[in-house]
Subunit: 427 residues, 2 copies
């Protein structure tokens, strides 16, 4: 893997310059007008003297249109052929953006995932990047060109096109930035940055100036619309600075980076709420060793991710085992769990979809005692019953009734004073 | 270049089989329903025991839609980026057709021009095929798969996508057939074959069972909607049989192949009319050596193709030099010809766009005396004035007034008895 060398063309009198990777999402290139707007933004950065790689997604609803065509042919597409179809979406947008940049008189070139040699494994539709061969990229950068790369796509060892699945274009951008040793990776979309909580639910929500990788990962559900956890993990692994901002204005966004001392003072950075949890209770399971193991091993075998788990001893040496899963795994889970319940001679299975998981996240939590107690107290004061609890170093999550989720979110945001977090702590 | 060996997998018990290349044009794959129809046709051929490579164009108006997007960005697109954009059209149709074949339970795989390694020169938008690396193709064929290949596209030595220009998908099909040593190449579209003349103008026009390469080339204007001259030239060079038929029914089409004795008996095979000719006369040019040379060298320098030429000595040692060009070169031609006329101290320039070129074509013409005379006589009897004449071994063309073209076409078709050519001569 060849790295781009900073200031490698000082011979041209450009002096030390940085390499920046920018990524523009589907909404940002959703129309010809928006593509022209992106061209203007790209050129603005280029004129500041930086080397520039620009990763773009397919135009707005292109992917949906292609999927509609596909559904007209088959309900069960061959993953390889689905990737052959879907990779055309980004190819269209890189060509158009490159033309828009050239039309303004600046040098640019478009490259597909196969031309950049973004090498992936064979998992069509959800491939993982194995490596990037930078040679063509660096060659074009060294010629002073803005290089526009198709996000979301790569090639496997058989030279077949693959797609990276959800969050794929973010992952492309971060992988290229990491592989080229870029100064930073900028992710532009229709969202202005990372907020203390969902601004549509809590109007007092504040945009964060910065956030740590770990906090960002815990806030995944908040951030998923902006930034997929995969790309955050990759950025963290390479200690690559991410910048999340809107492509529709120049308001400052949010920097995602490693933790420094100052950040640790922020005990709580954000509050999130996930409504796609389902609570499953296997009732009156005989209290024998290995019973819980059997349940969760079976669920794992069917690729069902289990989130929270509790076990309560009931009367008569029998336990209730309760866990939560994601709604999208519910059908699969039902098939497995009723069978196991019968095998274990359990009392029955109860499934509750009207639950929500409310979490507080903060890198400083670990050094601030009493945060969990404060959270439970706030919930109690509002008569919100906590059904389950899980914690990590930087997150505390409570499962509550779904219809109390909004109240919980607002109260926690207010009580932890997140509405003025930026002024007090962020700078 | 590796050739596919006939019967190479007799180990599978399939026995001697032929390799067929089929090509389906944009109209034939214009909707999901039509793609499914093509899948049925392809499978029918596959079930007959033949190895099959299927070349497809972009779906109906896809290319137009892409060009509309492009025009929204720039009126002067970089040819490389235009190719990046346009090659997505065929990529969509190969994926959908492959899925449709798989949906019916037959093995298929799609390959782009770059995956097939259709190597071209650097002339973006009008690239020429230099060679085909058959390895991947043969590998997939040997696994018993129907291989669906994107027409119209290739890659240059820099691994950049190129397009082949007008008639590109036909050329792809013929190049693959030639390179693989296929039994024949079948070109399917919404036209049922090659006719003795345009059936929309002359209802008595008859579909030919066969036609020679040379006749087909001379009938280019008739055939261009069905088959581009480039692909005919390539087929001729490799002595590859072409079969032109409709994808919407199973009526017999037209075979394009080498001449045999029997064919020579057909003195006239078809009548054509081209209305996109323009007649240019440079008047009263001094009768000096090198004058005509100067005019036509200048026109060639600007890539203006000259078709017919005559020179008449007028009074006073001055000539009128008249020639015809294609309408699409008229603007370019005007720029050049007025300047030259002035430099030569000519009398003036006259441009006449209301002309048409009517031609009769036939491989047997060369061995049938009096055909030209008969043609001129027929025209004379109908009071059609002939302004210019050109001839080749198998074609005689007359420039006439445009508003007499239809009459000329009908009369020639009737007088040369083309209405019953198939019954009399073709079988």
């Amino acid at each position: 893997m060849r790295k781009w060398e900073h200031g490698s063309n000082t011979a041209n009198g450009v002096g030390i310059m940085a390499l920046i990777v920018q990524k523009y999402g589907g909404t940002s290139v959703g129309t010809i007008e928006r593509i022209k707007n992106v061209a203007d933004r790209v050129i603005k950065e280029y004129k500041s003297g930086n080397k520039l790689v620009v990763v773009v997604s397919a135009m707005g609803d292109t992917t949906d249109k292609l999927i509609k065509l596909m559904k007209g042919v088959t309900s069960d597409p061959d993953p390889r052929e689905a990737d052959m179809l879907l990779t055309t979406g980004e190819q269209v947008s890189i060509a158009l953006l490159t033309m828009a940049i050239q039309e303004r008189g600046y040098p640019a070139i478009s490259l597909t995932g196969s031309q950049v040699q973004i090498k992936t494994n064979d998992h069509h539709n959800k491939a993982e990047i194995l490596g990037v061969d930078n040679n063509r990229l660096i060659e074009e950068l060294d010629q002073g060109k803005i290089v526009v790369v198709a996000g979301f796509q790569g090639i496997n060892s058989n030279n077949d096109f693959t797609t990276l699945g959800r969050g794929g274009s973010d992952t492309t951008a971060v992988a290229l930035a990491a592989s080229l040793g870029a100064e930073r990776c900028e992710i532009y979309s229709d969202v202005e940055g990372i907020y203390t909580t969902d601004p549509r639910v809590v109007p007092e929500a504040v945009k964060l100036d910065y956030i740590s990788y770990n906090e960002m990962l815990e806030l995944a559900h908040l951030g998923a619309k902006v930034l997929h956890p995969r790309s955050v993990e990759l950025a963290k692994a390479y200690n690559l600075k991410l910048y999340i901002a809107s492509s529709f204005n120049y308001k400052p966004g949010t920097v995602v980076k490693g933790v420094d001392d100052m950040e640790k003072r922020r005990s709580v950075t954000g509050v999130t709420c996930e409504k796609d949890e389902v609570k499953v209770t296997v009732q009156k399971v005989p209290d024998r060793p290995g019973v819980a193991g059997k349940i969760f091993k079976e669920l794992a075998r069917y690729n069902i991710n289990v989130d929270m788990i509790i076990q309560n001893l009931q009367y008569d040496n029998r336990n209730d085992i309760t866990f939560t899963i994601n709604k999208e795994d519910l059908i699969k889970c039902k098939k497995v769990i009723y069978r196991i319940a019968e095998e274990l001679n359990a009392g029955g299975v109860e499934i509750d979809t009207r639950v929500a998981k409310v979490s507080i996240v903060g890198a400083g939590m670990i050094s601030t005692p009493g945060i969990a107690g404060k959270m439970f107290e706030i919930m109690g004061n509002e008569n919100i019953n906590i059904q389950m609890i899980t914690t990590s170093d930087i997150k505390i999550s409570c499962l509550i009734r779904e219809n109390q989720a909004e109240k919980a979110l607002k109260t926690l945001h207010r009580q932890f004073e997140l509405g003025n977090i930026t002024q007090k702590q962020a700078r």
